[in-house]
């Protein structure tokens, strides 16, 4: 039998180990429940690992107040080991010390125990961080899934929305290749989206003019939108576009195209169109009705005109009392007003039906402007408005143009200028020329036109509030007729105006018209 090693054999071993070591006596209450323990011996590292100083001889409840509440399992396990003598090993967190410990405990004799422990806080923290990271990753994944579902829903909702729009919708990428075509578009064009997907809209869906000729690419609203010079193309007013339907017949459309921007870059365009066959038919019927009604109206008005003329000429009126003469003049004036209104209605309905016959011949437009200004002088003087003509070029060239209509256009602008200029005011008619174009401007110091009204100024029957106030008799047709004629000659008309200061109308006419005579406007 080997002799027990001396006591001081163990001491350096215990004091030099990394683990903490405590030799304790367990205390029980009367019901044999563990309630406390006394530290009998601790090694050097005990203090380092627990932070408890001079522990020997003290109860744990003195050293760590609250230990019973924070770690009841310690009492349970240590009690059990002290009683049964069976060693145990476990890991636990001691909140009052804010540390994790891995503890081995065994019983050297009944009611005593030895605890050997390591501080596992650092490794535990790593594990905990890992766990946290896992949880976070899981949460992100869950969020992503939710986001994905939301997006998918929103996407299908957008698609359903687009698909259900009653107008035709075609979307393209920045090269004009079709990326979307809604139900209405597929139905109107008689094309399935699958057939045209990723194909050029320019090639697969030709846009036609009234004669069935394809519109050149660079003039198509889609091209204009992709070029990015506009936010939305204006619907054309001068002529109608046509698309071809599945059966090969063409139908008239109203069409608008807008560029699609992402981060200020154009990534494509969206074209919206609708079939306007019905609107055009209604418009045609209306024009025909106006034309017919106007001709019928002209007969009684014309009869009245001549009878009034004869009455005046034959001295019946001149010898009548002043009141009768006044009344008579009112009758004649009224009759002329209705006649000119009917005339304008007829012009409009002919323009709308495309029946305007231009009878161009070589004419000097400078002389024509001069004549109009001379004819208008009495009207200007009557209104005490100064009417002046300035010809910046010695002579405007001859042009191939319908002289009567040109006269009508200039007369209309000058009459308007005088009409809407309060006395004392000025109307300046200026003719000029730049390369290839004759410029005629009519500038007044009149009531002016608001910016909103300027946009509608050249449409049929439009009259601004100001115009109605200062001249209740106008029909709102004059400028529409003017614009139709000027554009029919390949020219342009524009307006600049400041409310209360005056307006300037500018006509720009190409001098060498490529078309030959007799063209329909």
């Amino acid at each position: 039998m080997k002799p027990d090693p001396p006591t001081d054999f163990y001491k350096p071993i215990f004091d030099n180990m990394f683990d903490g070591l405590a030799y304790c006596q367990m205390l029980f209450n009367r019901q044999s429940n563990p309630v406390d323990w006394i530290y009998l011996k601790v090694n050097k590292n005990f203090e380092k690992l627990t932070g408890l100083k001079e522990a020997e001889g003290k109860k744990v409840t003195e050293l760590i107040p609250g230990i019973h509440e924070s770690n009841p399992e310690l009492f349970e396990i240590y009690g059990r080991v002290s009683k049964t003598g069976k060693p145990e090993k476990f890991e636990t967190y001691v909140a009052p010390l804010s540390r994790w410990f891995l503890i081995s405990v065994y019983c050297p004799k009944k009611n005593y125990f030895v605890a050997i422990f390591q501080d596992t806080t650092a490794s535990k923290q790593i594990l905990k961080d890992l766990e946290d990271a896992k949880t976070a990753a899981r949460n992100v994944l869950e969020d992503l899934q939710v986001e994905k579902e939301t997006l998918a829903y929103a996407n299908s909702k957008d698609e359903a929305l687009l698909a259900s729009i009653a107008d035709g919708v075609i979307a393209t990428d920045r090269d004009g290749r079709i990326t979307l075509m809604n139900r209405a578009a597929q139905k109107m064009l008689g094309r399935r989206f699958a057939e045209v997907q990723r194909k050029s809209a320019f090639d697969t869906i030709p846009l036609l003019d009234g004669e069935g000729n394809p519109i050149p690419h660079e003039k198509r609203p889609l091209h204009i939108a992709l070029a990015g010079t506009t936010t939305t193309t204006d619907p054309t007013t001068e002529f109608t576009y046509y698309y071809m339907c599945g059966g090969g017949t063409k139908f008239p459309i109203a069409i608008k195209a807008s560029p699609v921007f992402l981060d200020k870059e154009i990534i494509g365009a969206i074209v919206v169109f609708s079939d306007i066959s019905r609107e055009i038919e209604v418009d045609r019927a209306k024009s025909e009705f106006v034309s017919l009604a106007s001709h019928q109206l002209r007969t009684p008005l014309g009869i009245t005109k001549w009878y009034l003329e004869v009455l005046q000429k034959d001295n019946y009126i001149n010898s009548a009392p002043k009141t009768v003469q006044d009344y008579f003049n009112q009758l004649a004036k009224s009759n002329e007003r209705v006649l000119s209104l009917v005339g304008e209605l007829l012009s409009v309905s002919r323009i709308d039906q495309g029946h305007v016959k231009d009878s161009p011949k070589q004419a000097n437009i400078g002389d024509a402007v001069h004549d109009v200004v001379a004819e208008m002088q009495p009207l200007a003087q009557n209104k005490k408005v100064e009417l002046r003509l300035e010809m910046k070029q010695a002579k405007l060239p001859n042009m191939f143009i319908d002289p009567l209509r040109f006269h009508e256009v200039i007369e209309n602008l000058v009459t308007n200028a005088i009409e809407y200029t309060p006395s004392p005011g000025k109307v300046d008619v200026v003719t000029d020329k730049n390369d290839g174009a004759a410029l005629i401007s009519v500038k007044d110091t009149g009531v002016g036109i608001s910016e909103a009204d300027q946009k509608k100024l050249f449409t049929k029957f439009f009259r601004s509030q100001k115009a109605i106030e200062s001249n209740p008799e106008g029909s709102g047709l004059g400028l529409y007729v003017v614009k139709s004629y000027v554009e029919g000659w390949g020219g342009k008309i524009s307006v600049e105006s400041i409310e209360g200061k005056g307006s300037t109308f500018l006509i720009n006419l190409p001098i060498n018209r490529t078309k030959n005579g007799g063209d329909n406007l």
Binding site: H295, R298, T299, L301, G302, I303, K305, W306, Y307, E309, V310, K313, L339, V342, G343, L346, R350, H355, K357
Partner: protein
């Protein structure tokens, strides 16, 4: 005395033209449609015809076409007197059948018309 045939279905026009032209010393014949006008033109050989376009039974353009096929009628002076603005169809016929003037009644003063009649008949 110069003879003027007025072909016009509106009685008010007819009466006024009759009175005014008679007062200026012309002999005025009247017809109320193209068919009657053509008959009268052939029988009476007027110096000038004032011709409306829109009329019942036979319109003015048809009457003018038939008149130009007649040996006597092909050189008769004609002034179209109508309320129709000339459209493509009318312009085509006017070019072919050569009336001397084309007046839209409601755009024309009666005085200007009678002056023109005087000029045409003085040629």
């Amino acid at each position: 005395m110069k003879k003027i045939l007025v072909v016009e279905d509106e009685l008010a026009y007819l009466k006024l033209l009759h009175d005014q032209l008679t007062a200026k010393g012309y002999e005025v014949l009247e017809a109320k449609n193209g068919k009657a006008g053509l008959e009268m033109a052939k029988n009476e050989k007027p110096d000038l015809i004032l011709l409306d376009i829109r009329m019942p039974i036979m319109d003015g353009m048809t009457m003018l076409g038939l008149l130009r096929q007649d040996e006597n009628g092909k050189n008769t002076k004609v002034i179209m007197l109508t309320n129709l603005e000339p459209d493509d169809k009318i312009v085509g016929k006017v070019v072919k059948d050569q009336p001397m003037y084309y007046f839209v009644k409601s755009n024309t003063k009666l005085e200007d018309l009678t002056e023109k009649i005087h000029d045409v008949l003085s040629e």
